[in-house]
């Protein structure tokens, strides 16, 4: 017995020794956070060439003395969550700015926020983070953690950005905490084959992708009656995809989520209560507290659900599991606007871009701004950057990005029928992070039989308290 314990110990110890020896053996390895240091060495000759070719470009000249190591954390925004694509984008950045090393971390919507929050408290917030105004402006920006990016808006390219998008990136104090790259209108989708089988296609206009509230409810009933037990799911386990449930509920009877000035929450209106009650009463629609938005999409793709409330252009063109625009077993997926009683659907937008954390190091901040400027504004680069997101550009001058690609038709459909319905970007209302959490809890309470009016009232009280607290 004693011997065996000794053996175990010896094993553990020797393992540690070997490992630490291995570590010491390579002391010449530079003291770098990431092993990406070889890259600049290899491309050292590149800047000279670049400058020789375009000596007149100030940017290149001033940039050539920029040398810093920055971190970029991205949420899974199209292929910006995919390391192969992002490595390609960074490689082209490094051709022009070899002195700036960019290290990327990929976040997810389940734990991403917590990861950034712990990193902030841990004193190692990323230099650049890629997400939307609800996080960059309304949360971290409002907490004074971000750098003002107004100088990027002052550039030529920055001036072209749609006014509504620009407004969403602007904080109450006038500073810009996000520089946008791409956007999309979130929508919903149906399994066309199931609808056809239930003879429910009569309730919608497949050409314009629209339907009325009345017809939507009839269609759900028809699909349910045809034997499809689960038609749609109001997913509410948490984090991610909240725009889908919000847009569905707000549009059904034309309710609003916030006031027009984005100062307080108005989700407790008659219209919203009516919508929630209608959804709760509807056969085939379950309030499911065990799944989140991503899982709802999975269930839709594998044919468990007949519709998804968490859809957009990137989902429609996604071909990871099956051909684009089809479910796993080949059923056709038809993207739809959210149903509306007045025929005027307001879709919830997603505006994604970059924000810079103020980590107190001016060199890093400058390098981060250079990176954003290159990715979003460089005429030779921006198309690729937007393409990587699989969403739409935020400037009218950028056109034909998806021309010649397989997804071009789908993207055209979306820009023709969905983008014009993009509604007010209200996600910048104060207290957003807390309100989103409260929103899920409210749906969970309603799902377990809570009184709609009471629960919505409680949500608004809680959300407004958070809005006032900030």
């Amino acid at each position: 017995m004693k011997k065996t314990m000794k053996k175990l110990f010896a094993m553990g110890l020797s393992l540690t020794m070997v490992l630490s020896l291995a570590a010491c053996g390579s002391k010449e390895a530079p003291a770098q956070e990431q092993p990406a240091t070889e890259e600049p060495a290899q491309t050292e000759s590149a800047p000279a060439e670049a400058e020789a070719e375009a000596p007149a470009e100030d940017a290149a000249e001033s940039a050539s003395d920029l040398s810093a190591s920055i971190t970029l954390w991205t949420y899974p925004i199209g292929n910006w969550g995919n390391s192969e694509t992002v490595d390609g984008l960074i490689a082209s950045f490094n051709q022009k700015y070899p002195g700036i090393t960019v290290t990327v971390e990929y976040l997810d919507y389940t734990n991403g926020d917590d990861q950034v929050n712990t990193a902030i408290e841990g004193g190692q917030a990323p230099d650049i983070v890629m997400e939307g105004p609800e996080r960059l402006v309304a949360n971290w920006g409002a907490r004074g953690l971000m750098v003002d990016l107004s100088e990027l808006f002052a550039t030529e390219a920055g001036g072209e950005i749609y006014d509504s998008v620009e407004a969403a990136c602007k904080a109450a104090n006038g500073a810009y905490y996000e520089y946008p790259l791409c956007m999309v209108a979130h929508c919903m989708a149906i399994n066309q084959n199931m609808f056809e089988a239930a003879d429910a296609m009569q309730y919608l206009d497949a050409e314009t992708h629209t339907w009325t509230t009345e017809n939507f409810l009839k269609a759900v009933q028809a699909v349910y009656d045809s034997g499809q037990q689960n038609v749609g799911a109001i997913y509410c386990s948490g984090q991610g995809g909240d725009q889908g449930t919000r847009a569905l509920i707000n549009n059904l009877y034309s309710g609003t989520f916030t006031d027009a000035e984005h100062t307080k929450y108005t989700a407790d209106s008659e219209a919203n209560i009516k919508a929630l009650e209608a959804l709760y009463a509807q056969d085939g629609i379950n309030f499911d507290a065990s799944i989140n938005g991503g899982e709802e999409i999975t269930l839709f793709r594998n044919g468990t659900l007949a519709m998804s409330f968490c859809w957009n252009a990137a989902q429609q063109t996604n071909s990871d599991n099956a051909a684009a625009g089809t479910t796993n077993n080949g059923d056709t997926i038809l993207p739809m606007l959210f149903p509306s009683d007045d025929g005027k659907t307001e879709l919830c937008g997603g505006i994604w871009g970059f924000g810079v954390f103020d980590n107190g190091d001016q060199a890093k901040i400058d390098a981060a701004k250079t990176f954003i400027d290159f990715i979003c504004n460089d005429p030779d680069q921006v198309n690729e950057s937007v393409k990587a997101s699989t969403y739409f550009p935020v400037r009218p001058t950028l056109t034909g990005i998806y021309d010649g690609m397989e997804t071009a038709d789908t993207m055209n459909t979306f820009s023709e029928h969905f983008m014009p319905s993009m509604g007010d970007y209200y996600q910048v209302v104060p207290g957003w992070a807390e309100a989103r959490t409260a929103w899920w809890n409210m749906l969970q309470r309603i799902g377990t039989g809570g009184d709609v009016a009471t629960e919505v009232g409680a949500f608004v009280t809680e959300a407004n308290a958070a809005a006032g607290a900030n």
């Binding site: 017995m1 004693k2 065996t4 314990m5 053996k7 175990l8 110990f9 553990g12 110890l13 393992l15 540690t16 490992l19 630490s20 291995a22 570590a23 010491c24 053996g25 390579s26 002391k27 390895a29 003291a31 770098q32 956070e33 990431q34 092993p35 899974p76 969550g81 390391s83 290290t103 971390e105 990929y106 997810d108 919507y109 389940t110 734990n111 917590d114 990861q115 712990t118 990193a119 408290e121 841990g122 004193g123 190692q124 989140n292 991503g294 899982e295 999409i297 999975t298 793709r301 594998n302 044919g303 468990t304 990871d320 599991n321 796993n328």
Partner: protein, 309 residues
């Protein structure tokens, strides 16, 4: 043994049947992980479960290994930035570039072994002092240890995070190891064991002129070895499974542990169950192989400890 064979009472038969059913239930998750890792996407997403893979494929592992990469081994020197000339952390890295998931495994093994070794050494010393020495503050210290023993780490979440930040340990494996070593359960256990060391032996050693260190190493350690074994296994398993500290303290992909890595895979690809299963297999199989191979030592090691405690 004989009597067991002779008297196969119905009670025993029923018990055995129940045990077999329970055993199947307990083994099922692991079975499902390992088979799932080799299933095709269609098979794994089937609404009617495929109990056994119809065809074995490596797709999931290929996908897992084609994700991000990292050097096999990297070591951040604790407090390095306090000593280095430029104020940057000192990090050594070595080994070929491997898939990040392999690196997670290496990180986890390093973390668990390091926590185990440090805990055993420091706790054995402290436990001995608490049990056999009379000194000022002993009662107070011991009370503190007993009270803090079962404390969940979540309690000190924010202060600990800020402390690690100011020590520049955040996002290094040490931020997970150090609090584990500081957790007082080990000291408590070692104290209970050291109580069993006869005072006369210590006295005899002292009269023979053995110094404190020599007495400890040559007399005390051999006697409390079973306890150290129990503590080693407890610490190793606990720190391997201590998802919370890892979640809070680590953020770079190359510095994650395998548990964290799988949780991340799950969050990123809730659609891709096969990929998650491949990751889970990678996490579970090595430690299970070690466990099965050393089962005898493992189980005896823990048990010896407890019997004496």
């Amino acid at each position: 043994m004989n009597s067991g064979v002779k008297r196969t009472s119905p009670y025993k038969v029923i018990t055995l049947i129940i045990l077999v059913i329970l055993a199947i239930l307990f083994a099922f998750p692991l079975y499902w992980i390992v088979t799932g890792a080799f299933k095709t996407a269609a098979s794994i997403n089937a609404t009617t479960p495929d109990w056994f893979p119809k065809e074995w494929v490596m797709d999931n592992f290929n996908k897992l290994f084609s994700r991000q990469t990292a050097p096999l081994w990297e070591l951040a020197i604790p407090f390095g930035s306090k000593f280095s000339a430029d104020g940057n952390p000192i990090v050594f890295s070595a080994g070929p570039v491997v898939p990040a998931s392999i690196r997670w495994l290496v990180n986890t093994v390093f973390m668990a072994v390091m926590a185990m070794v440090l805990t055993c050494i420091t706790s054995a010393m402290a436990g001995y002092a608490l049990a056999k020495k009379r000194f000022k503050g002993r009662t107070m210290l011991f009370t503190l240890i007993v009270c803090a023993m079962a404390l969940p780490k979540q309690v000190i979440l924010i202060p600990l995070l800020r402390e690690m930040s100011s020590l520049s340990l955040y996002n290094t494996i040490w931020a997970v190891i150090f609090p584990t070593v500081g957790w007082p359960f080990g000291v408590f256990l070692m104290k209970q064991f050291s109580e069993g060391v006869p005072g006369e032996m210590l006295e005899a050693a002292r009269i023979d002129g053995a110094g404190e260190a020599k007495t400890f190493v040559e007399i005390v350690v051999p006697m409390i070895k079973p306890g150290i074994g129990a503590l080693a296994i407890f610490t190793f398993i606990n720190s391997w499974n201590d998802y919370f500290m890892q979640l809070i303290m680590l953020s770079s992909t190359s510095r994650l542990t395998i548990s964290l890595g799988i949780a991340k895979l799950q969050a990123e690809n809730s659609t891709d169950f096969g990929l998650i299963m491949a990751g889970a297999t990678l996490a579970a199989v090595p430690i299970i192989v070690v466990f099965v191979a050393f089962q005898k030592y493992f189980t005896q090691g823990i048990a010896m400890g407890a019997v004496k405690g």
